[in-house]
């Protein structure tokens, strides 16, 4: 048994084009922002209860939305970097040609599923639902804008992946 082999040596992975690097930076910044938002809101909720101020009841609601947005804002980044939780069993048993075929298939599948989800997101964002969130009273449709954007990027990244020679090198296994 050996560590999972990468489909192709890292030397074969071409450097990322500048627009992709900028896109990734923006995705990471957005995800980081939502994480910090969740952190700060929970800290505020914990502290303000002990302060002689009017209680804010919307901190929990916004933090929950922050977690949803955090997840979806990084879907594309994770697709592009092959960092989604993935069962990489096949990497250990398949030869390079089969692996290449599996890689293309998996990414095209992700793109297709992403398209179905985009249709869902569009209908939620533009579907004219009368619902609003209980505490902040944000129209519920708006809360799906981040998922819509994240899913669109995921489709884009999956299609690009399918044409790239190999999955990107895993720099730091987590």
């Amino acid at each position: 048994m050996s560590p999972p082999a990468k489909p192709a040596p890292s030397a074969a992975t071409p450097p990322r084009p500048t627009p992709v690097r900028w896109l990734e930076r923006a995705e990471l910044a957005t995800g980081a922002f939502f994480l910090v938002l969740v952190f700060v809101l929970m800290l505020v909720q914990a502290v303000q209860r002990h302060l002689p101020v009017e209680g804010w009841v919307w901190t929990g609601e916004l933090a929950r939305l922050g977690l949803v947005w955090l997840a979806f804002s990084l879907v594309g980044y994770l697709v592009g970097r092959d960092e989604h939780l993935t069962l990489k069993l096949v990497d250990m048993v398949a030869g390079p040609r089969l692996l290449r075929a599996v890689w293309v298939f998996a990414n095209l599948t992700v793109a297709a599923i992403g398209v179905l989800l985009i249709v869902e997101a569009v209908s939620l964002v533009f579907g004219d639902s009368p619902l609003s969130t209980p505490a902040l009273e944000i129209p519920v449709g708006w809360t799906y804008l981040v998922p819509l954007a994240g899913l669109a990027l995921a489709v884009l990244r999956a299609v690009v992946n399918a044409f790239l020679p190999a999955p990107p090198k895993e720099e730091d296994p987590r």
Binding site: M42, L67, F72
Partner: protein, 424 residues
């Protein structure tokens, strides 16, 4: 379209290297379309699954663990444990376990710490003449203490999926975590019986004192976390944020956290949290399909036909989960299996908290086994060791872990005693 078809589709996509979240979403989306559900329901159901207050603790505890890893807290616990245990035969084995126990109060996942633990413990042990394989194996096995001892990411996820109290599950896992530590310590003891040479030097009293002072700060973290919850200052979810703030503060005091380092920590945490959350979201939609098709009820009926003994049921579940755990990432395995297995467990009269602890310990053991063992992989790459070598070292330690699992299965009181005592 039946649930069996959906599950088959998911398995096929998983094997074809489709990310777990998408592998779940694909067939379930097809099911939703085929059964004429409206457009938008699927994404809403998925998003709502993570629009959950208790789950907010997942990214926060990941953040806490990553910050603690960057802050050199493990080194401090190491020095202290070594000063205390130096003279004992096989001392470095106990130190290894002790560091894991100490650090487990600040970290909720095995994979987050094992790289750092490997870099700290393996060289320290080999330098003192311990076999490298033994050092690797013990480090891998003791990394399971983190996700079992509170705070625990799998416990938070289980509590959310199973709609039980996070606090109760945290309390329930304390004794099992110490049992794992005790089981490993017993293995070290048996091993060291034949190794009279493995003995360190006695520490000076001054050394003990100064190393103790150095762990006072880290000791504050569990105090803040659990003291805060138990004294009513804040709820478990809020505690994750407060605990993180405390450890960031420690890191700044120890001058171990620069602004760029914090930036990297936040980005790392965000991507890890997102990769878990998206699997959770997908599992929410699968949950809808399974409930709609009344799958748990059907499986329960079939099982009830075979046995009505809860212990037999739990043993079956253990065997099944161990198999799943060998190939699936634990959080993904949790969110996929719990919605199906828990209603059945409840039918058999198994307490949901007891069931949760068994499930978690079980799936964590999967992190140590081929073909896919996350701990083996991360430890291998952080110590530049082939995974096969890591596994050879780890395999003997599976025995005490399986013994603990069996004990927990047969004696629910070991698990339920503490939450009941605390009234949770």
């Amino acid at each position: 379209m039946s649930a069996a078809l959906v599950v088959t589709g998911i398995l096929a996509l998983l094997l074809l290297r489709v990310p777990i979240a998408f592998a779940i979403l694909g067939p379930t989306l097809v099911y939703m379309v085929a059964t004429d559900h409206s457009t938008g329901l699927s994404l809403r159901t998925a998003a709502q699954e993570i629009d959950s207050f208790p789950l907010l603790a997942v990214p926060l505890f990941i953040l806490l663990g990553v910050v603690a890893n960057h802050t050199g807290i493990a080194d401090r616990i190491f020095s202290f444990a070594q000063a205390l245990l130096g003279r004992v035969r096989g001392s470095m084995g106990y130190v290894n376990i002790g560091v894991s126990v100490g650090f487990s109060w600040m970290s909720g996942s095995a994979l987050a710490d094992v790289a750092g633990m490997g870099k700290l413990m393996v060289p320290a042990m080999t330098a003192r003449g311990y076999p490298r394989r033994f050092a690797l194996g013990l480090t891998a096995a003791s990394s399971l203490i983190s996700p079992v001892m509170p705070p625990s990411i799998p416990a938070i996820v289980y509590a959310s999926v199973a709609a039980v109290s996070t606090a109760a599950l945290f309390a329930a896992a304390v004794v099992p975590a110490f049992l794992i530590a005790a089981g490993l310590a017993l293995s070290v003891f048996l091993w060291s019986l034949r190794r009279p040479d493995q003995r360190g030097e006695r520490a000076e009293p001054g050394e003990i004192r100064s190393s103790f002072v150095r762990v006072l700060g880290p000791l504050g973290a569990p105090l803040v976390l659990f003291g805060g919850i138990l004294s009513g200052l804040f709820t478990p979810t809020e505690a994750a944020a407060v605990g993180t703030a405390y450890v960031v503060f420690l890191g700044l005091c120890y001058r171990r956290l620069s602004l760029p380092a914090l930036g990297r920590i936040v980005v790392d945490t965000a991507t890890t949290a997102a990769s878990i959350a998206i699997v959770l979201a997908a599992s929410g939609l699968l949950g809808w399909v399974l409930a709609r098709e009344q799958v748990p009820q059907s499986i329960a009926e079939a099982l009830m036909g075979v046995t009505d003994n809860p212990v037999v049921f739990l043993i079956l579940v253990n065997l099944c989960l161990i198999l799943i755990g060998t190939v699936l990432e634990p959080v993904a395995a949790l969110v996929i299996t719990v919605p199906v297995l828990l209603p059945i467990a409840v039918e058999f009269g198994v307490d949901p908290v007891h069931f949760g602890v068994i499930t978690i310990v079980n799936l964590m053991i999967g992190l140590l086994t081929p073909p896919l063992g996350g701990v083996l992989f991360v430890l291998g790459s952080s110590t530049r060791t082939p995974m096969s070598e890591v596994f050879r070292g780890t395999a003997p330690f599976l025995l005490p872990l399986l013994c603990v699992l069996t004990l927990l299965t047969l004696a629910p009181d070991l698990v339920l005693f503490l939450p009941e005592y605390l009234g949770l």
